[in-house]
């Protein structure tokens, strides 16, 4: 065994920056749930884990600091199939399930939340085109989205309509076989960089039934972008406002029927909520591993701080929160895969629970690491900043409670 450790030491020192032997310092990134995964899922996880360890984790701090959107790394992820996880195989997607996607995205988010979260948004937009698009639309847009030669953004929120999304005021007026889109969208991930924008706009009466979905291409006359927002976290992806000033969009770019837009947007968000929750689990799993490692190494009062019950109980709570979050997220994904009626309810519950609990885990990790946790060098403060927004986007956690209550009351009648 001495020999093994010597050889491994050599392996690591020689190729410490190469894939096969890249190590995630600290925990081996395994979870209690791994024993329940299928052989295929373990392989997906293996690929994602290696990619996260080599390409994401070593760069996450730098991307955060420099506010860099790693286009090349994302395209490399696309080559492995991560930009089209649940896009159909006939068009070149990976053709996997939502359950598979939770495992993949969690594992990637362990390496970097911000880029993984962008990937999930891109998967969501591509998923809408795959599901609701005509053959012509699928052929036209999906191949480039799958390879990430084209980036995409989801545009629902407006400066004046967030939680009350159905009140959106961007309009799409018919002009012959075209639509003229006017209005503005806020907090758009990928804004300014993306090549394709899935825009919800009003074609009819007030309320959800009057909304349609459009695919707006970058370069369209009248499409412009606000300044890049300065944010607390999610710094490795651009965010800005998107303005539509009489943008002419041909009818062929309408996704689904007139009036179907809000339904498309909400169905997409069921999956989006699971994706965001799973990114939270990945970030929290990273924080848990870091806290476990630190607590076993840091000595105070003559012993490792992991010997103190105050720290042990905190670590126990953190591990329980990660496990519970993971179970809820994967269960919701299974329901979505099965088209279960309860999918919306379960996705809302899982999103609310996981994003709250996992933010708490990141906060606790900062506490366990003490002064070091507050330093950027240790990584857990970045995760805490990145995870904070998960309680807000894809529907705030308060809106999740509104959905949960509504679904409960629907079940009573």
């Amino acid at each position: 065994m001495l020999h093994r450790s010597v050889v491994l030491g050599v392996l690591r020192s020689i190729r410490s920056n190469t894939r096969s032997f890249a190590t995630t310092t600290g925990g081996a990134q395994t979870s209690l749930w791994d024993q329940n995964l299928s052989e295929d899922q373990l392989e997906f996880q293996r690929t994602a884990r290696e990619f996260a360890a080599k390409e994401l984790l070593p760069n996450a701090a730098k991307w955060d600091e420099e506010k860099h959107f790693p286009v090349d790394t994302l395209r490399q992820a696309a080559e492995l199939g991560f930009a089209s996880v649940y896009i159909s195989e006939d068009i070149g997607g990976s053709g996997l399930t939502r359950s598979d996607a939770t495992i993949i995205f969690e594992t990637l988010a362990y390496g970097d939340i911000s880029t993984t979260a962008y990937l999930t948004i891109h998967n969501m937009v591509s998923g809408c085109i795959d599901r609701y698009g005509t053959d012509a639309q699928r052929q036209r847009f999906l191949p480039q989205l799958i390879s990430l030669q084209a980036f995409s953004s989801y545009c629902l929120t407006e400066p004046g309509s967030g939680s009350d999304a159905a009140s959106l005021s961007t309009t799409a007026k018919r002009d012959g076989t075209d639509y003229i889109l006017t209005g503005s969208k806020a907090f758009i991930s990928g804004g300014g960089v993306s090549d394709l924008y899935l825009v919800m706009a009003r074609t009819g009466a007030p309320g959800p039934k009057g909304i349609s979905a459009f695919l707006v291409e970058k370069g369209s006359a009248g499409l412009s972008f606000g300044k890049q927002e300065a944010k607390m976290g999610w710094n490795a992806q651009p965010t800005c406002s998107v303005s539509l000033d009489g943008v002419r969009v041909p009818q062929e770019n309408r996704l689904g029927e007139e009036g179907q837009g809000f339904s498309i947007a909400m169905t997409a968000l069921d999956g989006g909520r699971i994706n965001i929750g799973t990114c939270s689990v990945g970030g929290a799993a990273f924080c848990l591993d870091r806290a476990l490692q630190y607590a076993s190494e840091r000595k105070q009062f003559g012993q490792a701080i992991s010997k103190f019950q105050a720290i042990q109980f905190k670590l126990a709570d953190m591990a329980t929160a990660v496990h519970a979050s993971r179970l809820m997220i994967r269960r919701a994904a299974e329901s979505l895969d099965a088209n279960a009626q309860s999918a919306t309810l379960e996705a809302a519950m899982a999103k609310r629970f996981a994003t709250d609990a996992c933010y708490g885990v990141a906060d606790d990790a900062v506490q366990v690491l003490g002064g070091y946790g507050y330093l950027k060098e240790y990584g857990v403060e970045r995760v805490m900043r990145d995870l904070r927004v998960h309680k807000i986007l894809e529907g705030t956690n308060q809106i999740m409670n509104v959905i949960i209550a509504r679904e409960l009351s629907r079940r009573q009648h």
Binding site: M1, V10, S20, E43, F44, T47, S94
Partner: protein, 252 residues
């Protein structure tokens, strides 16, 4: 080349913490993450590059051992190997038995090259490739850091890392080549290829069918943890350092 065989071994993951069993009979493998031996992964990658460069037509991954070894064959197929061969046995396999089994498979498959990792990170034997070449009476090139083919000549040119620098060998095919660390950087298995790997066939054989007696020839007396590292000391003068090196460490 028509066919390249690659041997892949299931070992404890290089990142996992190694624990010696309480009875000192070996290391704990239950509930420990297992993976393909990293040197075998490099061998798979090299075979796939030969195929990618149209220098080989078919890549076959071979693993020997319990049923779970199929995981490593699947991994090789997800990377791009065309099919797998699994020799099923729960007997502990030592290098000579492995070499004999691989030699029998080579007789059945008549590959132009047998690629192996130079050693496995569990037992670090570094014997199988050499034994296999001897059993087959094939030329061998171990510790390869570069593999090239002279296609028309049916010869391979292999660069090896030796203590004094690099050595280049020209070998007649078929040959046995074992891979060193710097040969290549293995690819990731893509999600679509992982799915495609499910449809690729794995032939299953047994040592009995191959007529090989795999009974262990070596007996493990005991396995122990390496001694724990003791705390260092600061020496205050060169004289003290030399004195300690000479009289305590006895290395001068």
């Amino acid at each position: 080349m028509k066919r390249v065989l690659v041997a892949v071994k299931r070992v404890i993951d290089y990142n996992a913490r190694i624990r010696v069993k309480a009875d000192k009979s070996g290391v704990e493998t239950s509930n420990v993450k297992m993976s393909m031996n990293p040197f075998c992964e490099i061998a798979v990658e090299e075979a796939l590059r030969l195929k990618g460069n149209k220098l080989a037509e078919e890549v076959v991954a071979v693993s020997l051992g319990p049923k779970a070894c199929q995981d490593q064959i699947r991994t090789a197929m997800a990377m791009g190997a065309d099919r797998g061969i699994h020799v099923l046995t729960d007997t502990e396999l030592q290098p000579l038995a492995v070499a004999k089994l691989l030699a029998k498979i080579a007789e059945r498959e008549s590959p132009d090259m047998f690629l192996l990792g130079k050693q496995a990170i569990d037992d670090d034997c570094n014997q199988t490739g050499q034994m296999l070449a001897a059993l087959l009476s094939w030329p061998q090139a171990t510790f390869a850091s570069k593999v090239e083919l002279e296609a028309g000549e049916r010869k391979a040119v292999v660069t090896r890392e030796v203590d004094g620098g690099l050595e280049t060998l020209r070998l007649r095919l078929p040959a046995v080549v074992t891979t060193d660390l710097r040969l290549n950087e293995p690819r990731y298995a893509t999600l679509p290829n992982i799915m495609k790997a499910k449809k690729k066939p794995i032939d299953q054989l047994t040592p009995e069918e191959l007529g090989v007696d795999v009974a262990p020839r070596l007996q493990t007396v005991k396995v122990e943890e390496p001694p724990k590292r003791k705390g260092g000391i600061i020496v205050h003068s060169v004289e003290e350092l030399v004195d300690k090196l000479r009289n305590e460490a006895k290395v001068l």
